[in-house]
Symmetry: D2
Subunit: 366 residues, 4 copies
């Protein structure tokens, strides 16, 4: 099946292909009365926009969002918010050879196996271009949970990691890599340039933190906060792994090494550590939510790779066109958006069942 809707009560549905006239998202279930205009959304799209440096795809898309419904006199009305972004720089000719051979690592073969045929232009629906819709929807979600601060950054590219001791929050938006460590950013410049020039690509790890999530958000047992975050992030193009808190490192630890001890505090317990990443039993503990996401290297590379054609013949493909040498970089705003969308949904779900305990800063209308 095709399931292009995400969320339970705060929901969004995306549509659109890489080379159609436009892409978009319909956000449903948003609380009424929130101030919302295009200027609340555009800055987040600009962070994800291609072509802002030589380290991202050179496709030129202004990614201007329009709000077509769901607001009145500058405020949300509680009805569906339709967001649309025109595709401007399609250049379908760039992709004509994609009809002739499956690109390894892409969804080309899988879509054909599922649907019998596909829109091959630029990956069609499976293109990472769809993530612009998520970022637009995520901008609305942020307004619903205005008491929560969400920020993500690149933690490693091609296996070269930042130095946690050098973490500088202010650097994240100052580099073309969303990199909080200036020394790492300098190294990555050479690393990504080399990959780009070699017609190769690199994987990356993106980390994300959400501060201000009140203890209690989350939904046992089959909409656990960590499970929903895992699905939200694993569903981003090119993602192959998700960790909450210590993640795989916890699997190598002992019970006492992994325990997050508690001490009395003025506003709930104070945790001495945060191995858990802010979630226990699928429910937020009030600590910062912490997660890490693994992006594989961009599958579209100039280096020729052995493949087959839709008719089953042997072929070789070198994917020309305008691709990100490291797709994880532009994954940063997408991870943030997906985290915001999950949290907004969980905030409303919590309020549904447990009443006014939705936490400071959760929007409501009356």
């Amino acid at each position: 099946m095709s399931f292009n809707t995400f969320g339970r009560v705060f929901r969004f549905t995306t549509w659109g292909e890489s080379h159609g006239p436009a892409i978009g998202a319909v956000v449903d279930g948003c609380p009424p009365g929130i101030a919302l205009s295009e200027t609340d959304i555009q800055p987040w799209l600009d962070r994800r926009r291609p072509g802002t440096s030589r380290f991202t795809t050179q496709r030129r898309e202004p990614d201007q969002v329009r709000i077509l419904s769901g607001t009145f006199e500058g405020r949300t009305t509680g009805t569906p918010i339709s967001l649309m972004i025109d595709n401007v720089d399609q250049r379908s000719k760039d992709y004509s050879d994609l009809a002739q051979a499956y690109r390894p690592g892409h969804a080309d073969y899988a879509y054909d196996a599922k649907y019998g045929f596909r829109d091959h232009r630029g990956g069609g629906r499976s293109s990472a271009r769809e993530t612009a819709s998520r970022v637009a929807a995520g901008a609305v979600a942020r307004l619903v949970i205005s008491g929560v601060r969400i920020r993500a950054w690149v933690e490693a590219i091609g296996g070269d990691a930042i130095d946690p001791a050098a973490f500088d929050d202010a650097q994240i938006d100052a580099t073309p890599f969303f990199c909080p460590d200036p020394a790492a950013a300098a190294r990555w410049e050479a690393l990504v340039d080399a990959a780009r020039k070699a017609g190769s690509s690199l994987g990356a790890v993106v980390a994300c933190e959400a501060i201000g999530v009140p203890a209690g958000w989350g939904a046992p047992l089959y909409a656990k906060l960590d499970a929903e975050l895992a699905a939200a992030c694993m569903g981003i193009n090119a993602v192959k792994g998700v960790e909450i808190g210590d993640g795989f490192a916890a699997a190598a630890n002992s019970g006492e090494g992994n325990a997050d001890a508690m001490r009395p505090g003025n506003d709930g317990p104070i945790f001495t550590t945060n191995h858990a990443g802010g979630i226990a039993g699928g429910i937020a503990t009030g600590q910062p939510i912490r997660l890490r996401v693994a992006f594989k290297p961009t599958s579209s590379i100039l280096t020729p790779v052995e493949t087959v054609s839709p008719t089953g013949d042997a072929a070789t493909i070198a994917t020309k066109g305008r691709h990100d040498p490291c797709v994880g970089i532009r994954g940063v705003p997408v991870v943030e958006a997906m985290v915001a969308l999950v949290l907004a949904d969980q905030a409303l779900l919590h309020r549904a069942q447990c009443g006014t305990g939705g936490g400071t800063g959760v929007a409501h209308g009356r």
Copy 2:
């Protein structure tokens, strides 16, 4: 909110607390006409059952499942299948001190923060005992996708990993650790014994493989096969990380190093490698599905840990009782069950949209 239902068309709902009279699952959407009796379910429960070795909890539960509805003359009717497992060995007195202090790493504090109070006996609803219901439901799912073989194993305990070269499928069920490498199993015996005697616990990595999933199963974009698997596994008690295929290793790789090249084959392309873990664009490629799951060390340890009481006072807790020294071990049948449940749902979803292409071995009634 509380969401105790998993799945979209093949669904299951679980209920029950660790120390109530029983636990259970209601499986809905199952195709009709499948031969099903308790003997199809019990062996999977027996693999998960506690008390089978000194490396698991000593709680004695026969975990006998009863089918209360949904079958007639030994076959599924297409109506809900109610599965019930009585709780036999509750011993509530073991847990009376859990009312007095939050166990670090457990859901105790989070449940109180969410709901205002909780059933503290043995963790109540957040106890891993609930996973027996998943295993029972998963046994039904296996029958729906009888052409798929799912097997999981423990790949590492406390950071000590198996030697992939020594992988022996036949060993998995021969050791108390679901360990495919006899030498590792021998080492783990000492390792887990030492942790148990020290009042400590150990984390583990569980790997899982599903062979025979036809190319095409999966559901772009917000029910991607990998995203659903990630949610299904991250939602298991104590899980903190999920990888599909190479997972985080892909993030340190290059595009050409990570490419799964294809060659012509008689029945679809032959892939020369499987970095992707059998999924591209959220859709199965026909290769084996491969994933890895990180279990944290059991949070219940004898070693005293600093904590607080529900009234906010400082406390120290040493969790007595009968706990698994390494909860990842009994996670093996649970991971298999969750993978089976996701695949059965996706098989039916694929058939819904794309017609007869549901793959060989998918049950249907007429």
Copy 3:
């Protein structure tokens, strides 16, 4: 498919066949902290119980409900509430001939057409016995919306209607017909007795009113309060029609005749009439919710009817056994339950999106 779950955030799942060991419901999403024990549920089941007069089936079922999970120390915990009712008086032999011929008006043929075979004993899953599970779940829903008063009654049997001028609320539970008009009840006694003795059966109209629903509950556009109520009631066994407010009479009216004029009031507008049945645009207006439900005559009759066998041969069937001569009578508590279940769900949905405006009397935990 089989969809045995109802609701969006306050949900219930039912299971069980007429002649299996038991039936049950799992209620999920209930707010925590509500006082709940079997004594809160049993009285509603007793109202629906068969065998209480000669005007209902003579099957003897005590319909004792047990709560198997979801409460602790007498209060709901926010986790799934498993309700189970044992089947006591199955007498499968009564139904052995149902395997040989399809009962006209029953689901026998349709289930076979769908699933390829069916549990024919007493109608299996399609038996009205399943409605006991709804009544049990509905009793929990009532506690969630304790500020709302829901009551239903029989308005007509076999075309013989009550006199609205004689409406006496106190009579509803005093007659075996849930009839608010004593004169009508007296007539119905003769009417139903005659039908019973003639081996016939009669249809009925059930009316229901919910008082205290605050203006604002409801969910445009595809979970409108009236649409959800229509689905909830049309899904009850034997129901063939649903009206909100004036229903079909509105279709014969003029705009000014159907207008519910408003005047200023101290607590929202005062409506001079209630043609709309308390719902406009799918949202409650604060007036009483009013609906009417048409029950067809019981299909199981002693009068022989022409039919076919599962192998397609001509047959004649006279349905012996213990059937309600007028299934609409026992429909009264079922309609009330379904209305309660819809309203509880909508109350929580409203609170999710719009914050504290969930209305007085909606349960919450903290």
Copy 4:
């Protein structure tokens, strides 16, 4: 909450207000490979379009639909189909007084009670203009179930019904009333003209029939085919009642009078009557599906009605503007669309659970 998505696996989401720039629908879950272009959708929209006769609103909307995604080279790809219809003739000034007083019978007060404020221009989201999106989505649904023929007609206006004996299928699209009885159409012309000139409006009954639905479609117990149809139709603007088959007339009947006897046939049983309207136990029997829908008279009338303002003051309102004197007339294509949407969903759900038995004519991709 706001739920603007309908359906389970074949789903659509609508967005847009009466006086925004556009309205639209996103159709998700459509089988791949179906030939689809705007010319498959436009004729259905043209049937619903306003301004085609003096008996409908004089708002001039071309209602030109554009397909923005989900097709490639003229066929559906299995990805979301985004349909957009520009609003051309908004004339917001017509509606400026709607901000000052609640229109009785409209959703004005209810939306304010729910959301705290509303887009008052032309009813905003609650305007019947939204039904154009349903008709567009329904046109896609028809292609999915191409073996089913769905047609609706007006059966009565203001209590004046057609003569069933005069039913002429060919007349339905020949009159401005979708009326199958020419004599009734002639009477209605005078009737509706009189109402229009008097500043009044009239209610109507719309009947609908779906022929070719195979026995077996439907989903017990909480997505019963009749329950889903009831919700789908009750959710249409101005609808107050829904009947399946004989509906309320069945409630006045006896068991033998209501029985649909069966005789052996070459392709399943032959039913001698169709009191049930083609559905038993929530599952199609293979007979024609028959239902009736009650539309109230248009609430917007020139006759002044007593009301209140948003600030709670007494007011009188005479709704000027361009309104349908009988909104049920244009309800005909909307009822057809909703029936098509329910059936397409149920067709795919049936195929999901029961395999190839989806019935002749259900689209699939491979």
